[in-house]
Amino acid sequence: MSRRPRTWPAHVLLTAGALVMVAPFAWQVVVSLQTLPESLRVPPKFTPSWQWSNFADVFRTVPLARQFLNTVVVTTAVTAGQLLLCSLAAYAFARLRFPGRGAVFMLFLAVLMVPAELFIIPRYEIMQGLGWLNTLQALIAPGVFGAFGTFLLRQFFLTLPKELDEAARLDGANPLQIYWHIMLPLVRPGLLALGLLTVMWSWSSLLWPLVVNTDPEMMTLSAGLASLRGQFQTNFPILFAGSVVASLPVIALFVVLQRHLIAGIAFTGSKG
């Protein structure tokens, strides 16, 4: 009666779709290993000629190594900051009672609704006032604060049983100790999801880095690549070598930890 349904039609369609998803990346890698004339050939040449020198050239034409380091430093600092500050606030919102809690949380939620463009000009002026233009702290400081992360982690803290706090409190633990020793280890899936999302966003973010750091030495990879687009309009092999180097770390991280990222995204969908 309940015959197992055939899955091959699904496989055919999904494979066709997956090709469309992957082909542009494969093509980018191929062109990053071609010579300049080959990359402009009509009809296109679909095979690489192993021009590894493109990868050396891109490090020579732009401060790619420096930009790579900038991006790693900024992403690490932003992610660490987000995880700490969001989890502290989320814990307080979910597990502690204090007057004004609801009102302040609504204010946090309201911030979520406002498009990022409204923050940019005043933030730029703050950075200008501090003398922080063209510094890494200009990229880090606004990034460590986030209403989204607080909201996401609060949902995780809310799922933990009430008895946990009560028992720990009877043992004489203060809220900070409860947060650190008991709660934080239990919301690890939430921390992992938020961490991965933050890494992804911080690594790729473009508009703010573009505005605030105009010195190539202080750019992140995203802004660095973007600023090359006019200059090297036709030198796609070198551009793509840079682009492969820039996007590989996050892709690798995702392939290893995808389960946690997906769980986090699905979670935002169900609670949103």
Binding site: P5, T7, A10, G17, M21, V22, P24, F25, W27, Q28, S39, L40, V42, P43, P44, L85, C86, L88, A89, Y91, L96, R97, F98, P99, V104, L107, V111, M113, P115, A116, L118, F119, I121, R123, I126, A141, F145, P175, L176, Y179, W203, L206, L207, V211, L225, A226, G230, Q233, F236, L239, F240, S243, A246, V250, F254, V255, I262, I265, A266, G269
Partner: protein, 292 residues
């Protein structure tokens, strides 16, 4: 006594985040609202100009063009949402193997930085040596100059916009699909409903809360599109008139031409647009979203 201490802890623990949000989010919102009524001087400083910026923008060809381009882009990207439902439905086929492999592949465009994505597609869409026109040529279509042509640029960008969000939306839809109780399907099977009929009669209606969420999120993100336009179209390209979006204009006014007051007014108009369109979505949902 104990509760007083709990209050203190509560304030202490939210203090860092609240302070940061006040400085980097709340104050900027107020400041941008204020700046939108001012004009920035050549040597810094702002003078109050009332609603002059808004009056100027609402009669400005570039702004109206950007508004039209942004709305067209949003409609095109929303038209791509059904593709994510199809992908999610295929991934949800019982007994399918290799789910995580497919998920990884469909997610590649989501996790890759837009800068790299935009550059790749700019190359693929090139009118002379791009692979897309080459493939179109094989089936006898003479492709346009996509990213060099004001009539086609926004379509090229929207194709990339859809391509890069299919995986993300499919994950949301898949979570929604997995929440639909199996017995519904079993009952329908017994009644003799085929798979296609089940999809339209059970899956789609029960998926509507997720669909609503995806539509709202996709719309809000689409109205703020910047990265792909910036990467695929040059500042001086003739195609810009047909692909300049609101946020792109914000960037140009604020940080290329240094007209901060005007840029602030653009940001405020964008906020208004998003609020109005989101409110309309929430109104409309009552007509088509089924909550159990």
């Amino acid at each position: 006594m104990l509760s007083k201490r709990e209050w203190a802890w509560g304030y202490l623990l939210i203090a860092p985040m609240a302070l940061g949000l006040a400085v980097f989010y709340l104050w900027p919102i107020a400041q941008t609202l204020y700046l939108s009524f001012t004009e920035s001087g050549v040597f810094g400083g702002y003078t109050w100009v009332g609603t002059a910026n808004f009056a100027e923008l609402l009669g400005d060809e570039e702004m109206l063009g950007a508004l039209g381009n942004t709305l067209l882009y949003a409609v095109l990207v929303l038209a791509g949402v059904p593709l994510s439902i199809v992908v999610a439905a295929l991934l949800n086929v019982p007994g399918l193997r290799g789910l995580s492999v497919y998920r990884t592949l469909y997610f590649l465009p989501v996790v890759t930085m837009p800068a790299a994505v935009g550059l790749t597609w700019r190359y693929l869409f090139n009118g002379d040596f791009g692979a897309i026109n080459h493939l179109l040529g094989k089936v006898g279509i003479d492709g346009p100059y996509w990213v060099g042509d004001p009539d086609f640029a926004i379509y090229a960008i929207a194709i990339v916009g859809v391509w890069s969000t299919i995986g993300y939306n499919a994950v949301l839809f898949l979570a929604g699909l997995q929440g639909i109780p199996r017995p519904y399907y079993e009952a329908a099977s017994i009644d003799g409903a085929g798979r296609l009929r089940q999809f339209f009669r059970i899956t789609l209606p029960l998926l509507t809360p997720t669909t609503f969420f995806v539509i709202v999120i996709t719309m809000i993100n689409a109205l703020q599109v910047f990265d792909l336009v910036f990467l695929m179209i040059d500042l001086k390209s003739p195609a810009l008139s047909g692909s300049r979006t609101i946020v792109y204009l914000f960037f140009e006014k604020g940080f290329v031409q240094n007209q901060r007051g005007l840029a602030a007014a653009i940001a405020v108009l964008l906020l208004g647009l998003i609020l109005v369109l989101t409110a309309i979505q929430f109104r409309l949902q009552k007509k088509w979203v089924h909550y159990e």
